[in-house]
Assembly symmetry: C2
Amino acid sequence: MATHKILLLPGDGIGPEVAAEVSKVLAWFTRAGIAQFETETDLVGGAAIDAHGVPLSEAAMDRAKAADAVLFGAVGGPKWAGVGYAKRPEAGLLRLRKDLGLFANLRPAICYPALAEASALKRELVEGLDIVIVRELTGGVYFGEPKEIVTLEDGQKRAVDTQVYTTGEIERIAAVAFDLARKRRNKVASAEKHNVMKTGVLWKETVTRLHAEQYADVGLEHVLADNCAMQLVRNPKQYDVLVTDNLFGDILSDVAAMLTGSLGMLPSASLGAVENGTRRALYEPVHGSAPDIAGQNLANPIAMIGSLAMALRYSFGLLEAADQLESAITRTLASGTRTRDIAGPGTNAVGTTEMGDAIVREL
Amino acid sequence: MATHKILLLPGDGIGPEVAAEVSKVLAWFTRAGIAQFETETDLVGGAAIDAHGVPLSEAAMDRAKAADAVLFGAVGGPKWAGVGYAKRPEAGLLRLRKDLGLFANLRPAICYPALAEASALKRELVEGLDIVIVRELTGGVYFGEPKEIVTLEDGQKRAVDTQVYTTGEIERIAAVAFDLARKRRNKVASAEKHNVMKTGVLWKETVTRLHAEQYADVGLEHVLADNCAMQLVRNPKQYDVLVTDNLFGDILSDVAAMLTGSLGMLPSASLGAVENGTRRALYEPVHGSAPDIAGQNLANPIAMIGSLAMALRYSFGLLEAADQLESAITRTLASGTRTRDIAGPGTNAVGTTEMGDAIVREL
Ligand SMILES: CC(C)[C@H](C(=O)O)[C@@H](O)C(=O)O
Ligand SMILES: CC(C)[C@H](C(=O)O)[C@@H](O)C(=O)O
């Protein structure tokens, strides 16, 4: 039986709590003789700053490169508000994305039927919602240079960020979206601001050309990012796969996630290019470090456990195990087990560890 | 009686239809002896491209500079999709904003009680919603240089947009937000991405300093733009005044507008600096040119008529007339008159002209 190398980076806030539940699930798969994992754990974000003075040590970066998949919790919190830009907790995550070449971020926004009531939107607008945001993750304004603050002669400061995209960067993320759409409802919407941004002009032009040349069988629609944000609120079910750049993807995927009422349940995958039949990958919950509820056994571990299910499927080729884990999650929810974030008024809520235990029991 | 100089720029799509209703209202105020207007009309956007080959003629720009206020409809549509970046319809609007120095865009998001049902959100989340997004309008990625597409040696293209902010630009828009908050519920939320963008770092630092020095009596909260988009969906009533940059403002204000269920009802004001007691200003509906319903007498003219009410108040000092117009709108709605966009199922909808006539009747 092949051994799958996992680097677990719990991070900050509720990260360690939800990561602990993932470890339980990994242990179960090993005990059951279904798969074998070699799991290393390291620090990232604020935890790494406290220990090493940097948000990701070189040793952790090397381990990430050597792993078949990285499982990432969450980073950041008020404790590290003053550490300075280069050393902030988020820099650890951004370095992982960039140095592992994880250009494709897949963020499903699924409204679980049992939770449709938890959405801010009217039930009929979100019930059955199942869209995937494909976000470009290693380009755009996140990494473009110059990126600086300079002091001018009159004492004023001037800050600059640079959004850059090349044809090749746009093509490869669009291809991910089109390929994914073919396995789903065969529709892609591409969001940019070509009416204001040159990167938007190139984005639209490149997606249009790639579509005509290689994906003419897939439905394609172009939508302005501001209008897309509106449409996500007005009628999210009109979309299937939504492809967009790094910054718009950051915002639009958060809107989409929040719509589902299932923020604590949504996993995500960040994938690199396929090389020699494998690809680098990092899996993380869509939610953040939630410092306000950290350490209180209140966090919902489902997004993190669902991220493991994605790793089983996309990185380890363990399709059956992935299905098995996802249906254990579904059965646990169907049995009425709820953490606080998804418990309706008057329902009993369980804690993080109880939810993890319940899922293992269902396995 | 002073004569107020207005430049009316109806633009494209439904722009001319809603602008026509504003002309009716202006005529009523003149007939009633309440105010005197000198109204010029000119072309902008696609209409100007068709007539002059550019989205805003020099003559129209000069008229805008000479006017006390510009009333703007909407621009753009599929007809001009191929005209090229420099000449696209939106360039006319962007030039007006930049050359008139309209750095402060005020976008109220109000949920009219009668329309709470029209929101995609659950009634209790939006009923009574009254927030204002203060969007920086002449800086950021909209205007920063370089902004270009270059062809690389290998035939690939590389597109660049540049987001730039100076201390002074941030201070003046933050001051608008704090001043406005003092007349409202005294709370400002400032949205940026300081965890990823240097402009976000300078934004947060500058807002924090200005607050400490001059507005310590106003409540201030910093929120990441992606989280802010989420919070707008989760619980929009937590906000009072929300200040943010040009690009985030574009998206967040569209989300906020859509939440209200009243998109066709929301006016906006774009204001310049006060010089010699006056300030340049442009008023426009938040909605766009809606080419799909143009020319069919279906558009809701209330956002445009409400924009005139803002002009009466902020540019002409006609506070009573502004109140009068706004209460005429409220009474018209209370009487059950509805255009299609806000008509509930089973309700009779009136057209654009009928809604305009009804408001004039209420005056
Ligand atoms: C933590 C932060 C740097 C990150 C981002 O902006 O990409 C987060 O918001 C996300 O969406 O993964
Ligand atoms: C028409 C377009 C250039 C404009 C913008 O992006 O600012 C519009 O979306 C707006 O919000 O006023």
